[in-house]
């Protein structure tokens, strides 16, 4: 009787000790990162959500106004325009960067030394500060024949294009820069995916005499599906919270034609000092991002199950 009682207890005891030791070590390693995330990410995030329900006046006392900030942001026509711009820019930039990234990955896959050099060169935009890239593109887009792109057009006898000053094309000019920045980033993930493709499949395909397109469609694409999903998830999130590219290149102008959700929120918070409204706008963005991420993940799971 006593034996049956003590035995599980003892086992439980040793089990817990083993559990402790095993569990504590990784948590210890994680602790600095978690702590930083807690202090710099989750706490401000929680505070932002909290502030979105207030008329924020730190020294006069915040005033609870419930959902008024949300109502104001969602009915503001500038924000409504910004949603449209964010979607166009986000989708265009993501699709463009994925296609270009994939093409680059296919071209630059391999072991040769020269390829390594090329890959590094191509990857540079992704590690350069966006503010610097913005200044660079601003010079390239310079609206006279002194600008790099316009001097090219001039050479072919075409007129100068107001890349950033024409409200009809400024958004697309920003998009091109975004694609240029993010394509190499996607390329690296695709390259990792391509490295995992079974070479013998290519050989078998070559023996069967399939076309290049068939090879891509039936061998390469299925193999890099996981990489594609990662890239897609990242691109979705990035597309929605696009800020730096727009802010440094056009500042949301001309005439608000490139204003996106984040630049609106920034203007609201920091030039109009409406922290409550800016928080509400950011929370809306957070919700949409979460929703889309979950959606993409679900799609992926369904795809894998199939």
């Amino acid at each position: 009787m006593t034996a049956t009682v003590t035995a599980p207890a003892a086992r439980e005891g040793t089990g817990r000790r083993a559990f402790d030791k095993k569990a504590v070590v990784p948590w210890l390693f994680l602790a600095p990162g978690l702590l930083l995330a807690l202090v710099f990410k989750f706490w401000p995030m929680a505070k932002g959500i909290w502030l979105s329900f207030f008329d924020v006046r730190p020294f006069l006392g915040d005033k609870w106004i419930g959902l008024e900030n949300y109502g104001r942001v969602l009915t503001d026509h500038r924000f409504q325009d910004a949603i449209g711009h964010t979607l166009i820019l986000g989708i265009g930039q993501s699709v463009g960067a994925i296609l270009l990234g994939f093409a680059l990955a296919l071209l630059l896959e391999g072991q040769a030394r020269s390829l390594k050099f090329l890959r590094t060169a191509v990857f540079l935009p992704a590690v350069t500060a966006t503010a610097v890239v913005g200044e660079l593109w601003r010079l390239m887009y310079y609206p006279t024949s002194d600008g790099l792109l316009n001097s090219g057009l001039h050479f072919f006898g075409l007129g100068t294009v107001q890349f950033l000053d024409n409200p009809d094309i400024a958004l697309y000019s920003t998009m091109v820069m975004g694609i240029w920045i993010w394509a190499p980033y996607n390329m690296v993930i695709f390259l990792a995916g391509l490295a995992g493709v079974d070479r013998s499949l290519y050989e078998a395909a070559a023996m069967d005499g399939v076309s290049l397109w068939q090879r891509l469609r039936h061998v390469t694409l299925p193999a890099i599906r996981p990489a594609l999903m990662i890239v897609l998830t990242l691109a979705t999130i990035r597309g929605l919270r696009v800020f730096t590219e727009v802010y440094v290149l056009t500042g949301g102008g001309p005439a608000g034609s490139t204003d996106v959700w984040m630049t609106r929120a920034y203007t609201l918070g920091f030039t109009r000092n409406d922290i409550g409204g800016a928080s509400a706008a950011s929370v809306v963005l957070l919700c949409v991002t979460l929703l889309l991420t979950v959606l993409v993940n679900n799609l992926r799971k369904r795809g894998e199950a199939r």
Partner: protein, 444 residues
């Protein structure tokens, strides 16, 4: 020398760290010796490392004189950092920043009211300057520190080459601009020169800031005070419609090259065409004199009063005030610093450039000083005269930030779409401004 250089580097590093860590870095800064020691004041200015070097000299002289130490932080993105600091309810003791922000800060409760009589030497500051620091409730919320007014910088060598004179009216300015754009004033045989530099982006409200002088010269106002503490939006007046239409038709939608390419997305940091030597006129503040003396060069341009519009030659005046942060218990030290900053000695140190660093006081608020004499440079009397006789400031009592931003948004849109109807666009702006004033309970 070496010491100063090290300190400058430190200041630069601190600024970068501040930029990177935002609230966190500033929060920890204030918990250290800075705010707990009653004999140390934490002072913020909106400065880059270059002008911070001048502030360093000012504060060193103050510490030497009074023994009160200064924990000085030059902050580039001042407004963002201050909002972050405000959200932790811990402000710097003393701040030096733009005059037009006073209403915004006061409406958020960030500032301590000031009794002008408590500032030693406060009677040497003119009534005009003091009146610009009166808040919505009739109390003073800032101490005038530096003043400036815009003036026209113009390439004298280009004028000479084309046989032209510096313009005194809008029409003359327009014809000079067209000549600069088309008659190859730099003589390189290429059509690569422009008339006027315009930072007309809506970002940070630049279009309204730069355009304000034109509005006043055209007899318009953005919002009009009624003398009883309330305001009416005034951008649908005939004068405003005329002035904006003139700007749109002649500068932005008229002949090419009158303003620099890319003007409607340019902010002051990217509107460097005068400095780069490809634009001939720039209506801007005198802080650019130091910059322009280096390029295009002191002998290549002159500073003249702004060309007059139909209603006169008034230009935008602004400057910096000294603000005291709310809720710190160091009144005596803060007032001592403020008194030193506006004294003849403090202003002189801040007005002189050492090692080519940017001076931080432009036109002194201390009436015993003369900008041109202190600097031994006659060009400053043009600016001082413009400030004293022909300048207007943005109303400082209301929170002007949303008003400026909405005006800039509307002006930028008008200048962008040349086919638009100015009258209806300004009517729409007026309704938006009425909303802004109503939010602040200031609408008449």
């Amino acid at each position: 020398m070496g010491d100063r250089r090290r300190r400058r580097r430190l200041a630069a590093a601190a600024t970068v760290a501040g930029l990177m860590f935002g609230t966190a870095a500033c929060g920890s800064g204030s918990d250290s010796a800075g705010s707990s020691d009653p004999n140390t004041l934490e002072v913020w200015t909106r400065s880059n490392p270059d002008s911070a070097a001048t502030y360093d000299r000012v504060f060193a002289a103050f510490t030497k004189k009074t023994g009160i130490k200064i924990d000085y932080q030059p902050v580039i993105n001042f407004d963002q950092q201050l909002q972050s600091r405000a959200s932790t309810k811990d402000l710097p003791d003393v701040m030096i920043n733009d005059t037009a922000l006073m209403g915004s800060y006061q409406s958020q409760g960030l500032l301590k009211p000031i009794d002008p009589a408590s500032i030693a030497g406060g009677d040497r500051i003119t009534d005009k300057s003091w009146s610009s620091t009166v808040g919505i409730d009739g109390k003073h919320y800032g101490i005038p520190y530096s003043r400036q007014a815009q003036a026209l910088m113009i390439r004298t060598d280009w004028l000479k080459k084309l046989g032209l004179k510096a313009p005194t009216t809008w029409q003359e300015m327009l014809s000079v601009a067209k000549a600069f754009a088309t008659e190859d004033p730099d003589g390189d045989g290429k059509a690569d020169t422009y008339g006027i530099v315009a930072p007309a982006s809506a970002q940070n409200g630049y279009a309204a800031w730069w355009g304000a002088s034109f509005l006043w010269q055209g007899g318009a106002q953005i919002i009009a005070p009624d003398g009883k503490g309330t305001y009416t939006p005034a951008m649908d007046s005939a004068a405003a419609i005329n002035a904006v239409t003139w700007m749109k038709d002649n500068l932005f939608c008229g002949k090419k090259g009158v303003v620099q390419p890319g003007a409607i997305t340019a902010v002051t940091a990217t509107a460097t065409n005068f400095q780069d030597g490809n634009a001939g006129m720039y209506m801007t503040g005198p802080y650019n004199i130091t910059t322009f003396d280096a390029t295009p060069g002191k002998d290549k341009y002159e500073v003249v009063p702004a060309p007059a519009g139909p209603a006169g030659g008034d230009v935008l005046a602004d400057g910096e005030n000294v603000y005291l942060g709310a809720k710190t218990g160091k009144d005596r030290q803060e007032l001592a610093l403020a008194s030193f900053l506006v004294s003849a000695e403090g202003q002189k140190i801040a007005m002189t450039s050492v090692d080519g660093h940017q001076p931080v006081v432009r036109i002194p608020v201390n009436s015993t000083l003369d900008a041109a004499k202190v600097r031994n440079d006659a060009r400053w009397s043009v600016v001082q005269k413009a400030y004293e006789d022909a300048s207007e400031q943005f109303p400082n009592a209301p929170d002007f930030a949303p008003i400026k931003q909405d005006t800039a948004d509307a002006l930028n849109a008008i200048f962008t779409y040349c086919g638009g109807d100015v009258r209806s666009q300004l009517k729409e702006l007026n309704d938006t401004l009425a909303g802004d004033l109503k939010d602040q309970d200031l609408l008449k």
